[in-house]
């Protein structure tokens, strides 16, 4: 298995609180991604990174920010969590060349109450 660790694995938080999810990789891969998965929507890209301090928005970026200060860590922050952000969040990484597959972390189940 690719070396990807997401933390925490489960979290319950209250509406309006900030939340940070962490993705850590040991593969030295260039690309890192945050997706959310919801019933009926599949996997949707939130933000991605193509290098240290290089990030860009995905399809559903509103309400989320990211940071990548080191190759191995990609953080996803919900500045003020809302119930619509209740979801399963997956981090993925892919290699340094085009046409390489993405590998997924085990996911974080976030519930906003």
């Amino acid at each position: 298995d690719a070396g990807i660790t997401q933390s925490p694995r489960h979290k319950v938080t209250e509406t309006g609180t900030p939340v940070t999810l962490r993705c850590h990789q040991t593969e030295n891969h260039r690309y890192m991604y945050w997706y959310r998965q919801d019933p009926g929507h599949g996997l949707r890209l939130i933000h991605y990174s193509y290098g240290v301090k290089d990030t860009d928005k995905g399809e559903v970026s509103d309400g989320y920010s990211v940071s990548r200060s080191k190759t191995e860590d990609f953080l996803l922050t919900l500045e003020s969590a809302t119930s619509s952000q209740t979801s399963v969040y997956f981090c993925a990484i892919s290699g340094n060349r085009a046409n390489t597959e993405a590998f997924f972390g085990q996911g974080t189940r976030l519930t906003v109450v």
């Binding site: 690309y31 599949g42 290089d54 995905g58 390489t100 597959e101 590998f103 972390g105």
Partner: protein, 113 residues
């Protein structure tokens, strides 16, 4: 806007049946088509296709890409209950130094004994 459409969204078959899952895509700067299997947790990689007409095969699973008609199929022969999962199709694109995956909503396959 990049788009990946999978059909059917769900499918119930009996053990031993053969199934075909469909994936069509409209992606700017298309690079490759990927298939993933998702059971209870993270998606796991099955195939990556970059060239038209070349079948990729792994055991009872096979896949092929048609870049002219912009679709791919995933075939599973002699299905087993362990094949029950959500099968995800993703199209990768590249541009301006980045590399993204756009996913379809998935096909939920249920194999009954």
């Amino acid at each position: 806007e990049d788009k990946v459409v999978q059909s059917p969204l769900s499918l119930v078959v009996h053990e031993g049946d053969t199934v075909t899952l469909n994936c069509s895509y409209e992606v700017t700067n298309f690079r490759s088509l990927l298939w993933y299997k998702q059971e209870k947790k993270a998606p796991t990689f099955l195939f990556m296709l970059t060239s038209s007409g070349i079948e990729k095969k792994s055991g009872r699973l096979s896949s092929i890409l048609d870049k002219k008609e912009l679709f791919s199929i995933l075939n599973i022969t002699a299905t087993q209950t362990g094949d029950s999962a959500i099968y995800l199709c993703a199209a990768s694109n590249s541009g301006a130094g980045s590399y993204q995956l756009t996913f379809g909503k998935g096909t939920k396959l249920s194999v009954i004994p």
